[in-house]
Symmetry: C3
Subunit: 333 residues, 3 copies
């Protein structure tokens, strides 16, 4: 059993040593009550409604000459019933990389540039709770397997990243499961703008010539009393046959002491023959018990048109109905 | 690689900081030789005969105002052949909670109040080794999924807990997999008494109207030279159709320096038509190499009557025969 | 979140305490580009081409009287796509043991003495990269389930180990999955010689009377400018029917500052009716960015004769073609 307070235990004593290496054990445990209603109705206790429950190990090593080695090994955990999320252990993130003044090169299973733009710039709900923007905006790939990613350094607030995911199909089919994406962004601490693209090919020989593509232009701006969000995305979901759509998001996040109020509205304009349109309104509230622990409450409702099939989910659950309430606690360690 | 001695490294240096947070990595590795005989016979090396091999991460955060956040993420490991126990990773315990002067509220996968009474109050073998009381006493649920548990603070030695596990069945069937349980106990450090109940519904649509229920009254008393145990349980195992039974347990645990001698006798009185009666005698011995490491030896035998099907298992194995010998080593970290 | 520099944080403060216990979190993340060609051709990003990506927890406890308890729990991770290697979580190594002046006794899932000889004494590629000796030399068992292993102390440079793996088959078949092995070796720091044997029975009732056996005599010698390797093995692969063979390996490893050049040649002489012969030439290069992080490049080619089916793999991949190139980065923590 190893127990230590959360702090750099006597760190300064080793600060001068060459090839200093750090290892951090971290995670989130998030459990909440979720009530979904609409066509189907269910009351349940869900792991990760706001942020996926996870356990991670990450580290860096100073290689000298302004170079660093770094790694992340992070597993999702279904704290409600045991087991792993993302269909396998350590399938949240697993990569190794090198960082220098010229940028960061990482290899392994990683987030797509598109998802990072949706999550960090576009969505006031940060892909969590009932208002999760992914309920309507297709993320065409949250993570990429077998991926090489290059992230540039930041020049005058501008930075970008490109990522390529090998398909690794043996039967002469090198298109299946292939992923490619990139983003370019600007931030000055107050304004945050990002343009991102992702294309994911089908995973089987039959669907390898089909792909899901999404392009998003997202921005947020930090006023004194609130942060406002806006995003516009253009999507083509070929693999499931759902077709083309355009999404418009506006949102706001209002901090007030330990309280934060969140709201977003998304309009999906289906552009396939079936014209599957939908609107989502999401409202959220978090109360910080500390910097690391918060309570949360959220409500969202989707108005499906022309038989559109969208459901209100949360970070870990695609949902079953067109309305949902969340109520829970999230602890970060 | 991070290496640190097992101690609070420089803890005092941070004791005064607000929102102090602790993270503990802990576990048990237990491997032993198990020989089972009776109708079927096998010699094998088993992981977790005394205590399930496990790796856990737990922590607390001081939230001020006498409140704490806490979490546990604990996985079982099959150290004999690799893989996870409890059918999935991190399925031993996974929960998050808040603790205050008013009690502790936890959400996630957790032990049932019934099992905790059987394990900690009734059974001198603590659910481990050949003499494991669960060989005969049906625990109708060791752990509960999707569970909310409230544990009261202790008033004059009296405390209790109640737990409810959501069924989470989508097809309008909210009875399947539902669990409910509770316990109330008293301890003064010498006497330890607990009354516990658990009811677990069947997990499928077909069995959701059936349930396994168990009620146990358990006590132990710490004399100067020995701790004596007694328990009485009343069970109705509907799901498998094994039916009603009553179990009586008496046991003793005798510490002697680094040696501990354990014995228990259980009488099961089957009350279904088939009248499946059985008696179990279990003998155990542990030798402490340190506070954290011990050797163990155990023997148990079940006398089945009227074709009763009970087998001698251990903590991690239901067993195949009506007699078993265990011999192994357990290390706690 | 617990973060600490890689060093014994304030260790000396506790050095005097009784039953001192250590816990180490460690691992490797290795990702590389692999191009395989020959009958089948593929370009991919692979986890663990040089050394399997892993996360481990290990510790020791001082029991006094020159005795120690020790354990290892180590999982393989597929960092390219998430999930576990070795077909299950914590299936790299999971064992507990006791160590004294009389040797070390360990119980659990462990490396075979044969594999340790192949890996540590015979193969300049240490079972990694394209030149991996296992491409041709059948290791008849890298790890053993349900295993008891005794490793002797070292007397004048001589030490040995014996291991037995219980089959654990219930249906009266105690031969299936049984493993037995051993090794004896000598080292004076410059010369390293080891003789090892392993026999693994088939895992099913149908194949339990068949076995794969391998005997290897391996040696390496550390000259001032290079380490040279030689090994001879005699194998009988009954279970897959590939039959008898003899393998001869010669190799060299040349360190030069941060650079290391590796080469090996293996001749397999098939001795079954089909006479499945093959030769492998492997070339490798590693560049140390630090003691813990290196880049790697490797190439190997197999010349199969008489329709022999051997492929060029690496540490984590059996390969699909008879030529392969590896290019990657390995970080150890």
């Amino acid at each position: 059993m190893k127990k230590s307070l959360i702090a750099l235990a006597c760190a300064s004593a080793f600060a001068g040593s060459a090839n200093a290496q750090s290892l951090t054990t971290y995670g989130i445990v998030d459990m909440g009550f979720v009530s979904e209603s609409g066509p189907a109705s269910i009351q349940k206790l869900t792991s990760g409604a706001q942020s996926g429950t996870r356990l991670g190990f990450k580290g860096t090593e100073d290689l000298g000459n302004n170079m660093k080695a770094l790694f992340v090994l992070e597993t999702g955990i279904a704290a409600d019933a045991g087991g792993f999320n993302q269909s396998a252990g350590f399938a949240r993130q697993s990569f190794v990389g090198l960082q220098s003044d010229s940028g960061t090169l990482t290899l392994g299973r990683q987030y797509t540039p598109f998802f990072l733009a949706l999550n960090a710039v576009a969505d006031p709900f940060a892909s969590g709770l009932a208002g999760n923007a992914q309920n309507l905006i297709p993320s065409s790939g949250i993570r990429m397997n077998n991926a090489v990613k290059y992230a540039s350094p930041t020049f005058s607030g501008v930075s970008g990243e490109v990522a390529y995911g090998f398909g690794e199909n043996t039967a002469g089919n090198d298109r299946a499961s292939k992923n490619v994406g990139g983003s370019i962004g600007y931030t000055d601490g107050t304004l945050n703008v990002r343009l991102a693209y992702h294309k994911a090919n089908g995973t089987t020989a039959l669907t390898s010539d089909l792909s899901d593509t999404s392009t998003i232009l997202a921005a947020n701006y930090k006023f004194e009393v609130a942060k406002v969000f806006a995003a516009y995305s253009d999507n083509n979901v070929e693999i499931s046959g759902r077709g083309k759509s355009r999404d418009l998001l506006i949102g706001v996040s209002v901090p007030f002491g330990n309280h934060t109020f969140i709201a977003s509205y998304i309009n999906k304009n289906g552009r396939s023959t079936a014209n599957l349109d939908a609107d989502q309104l999401g409202l959220g509230y978090t109360y910080a018990l500390s910097k690391r622990t918060n309570l949360y409450a959220a409500w969202a409702s989707i108005d499906n048109k022309n038989g559109a099939p969208y459901t209100v989910g949360n970070n870990s659950d695609v949902g079953t109905g067109d309305r949902a309430v969340n109520l829970g606690v999230r602890h970060t360690f």
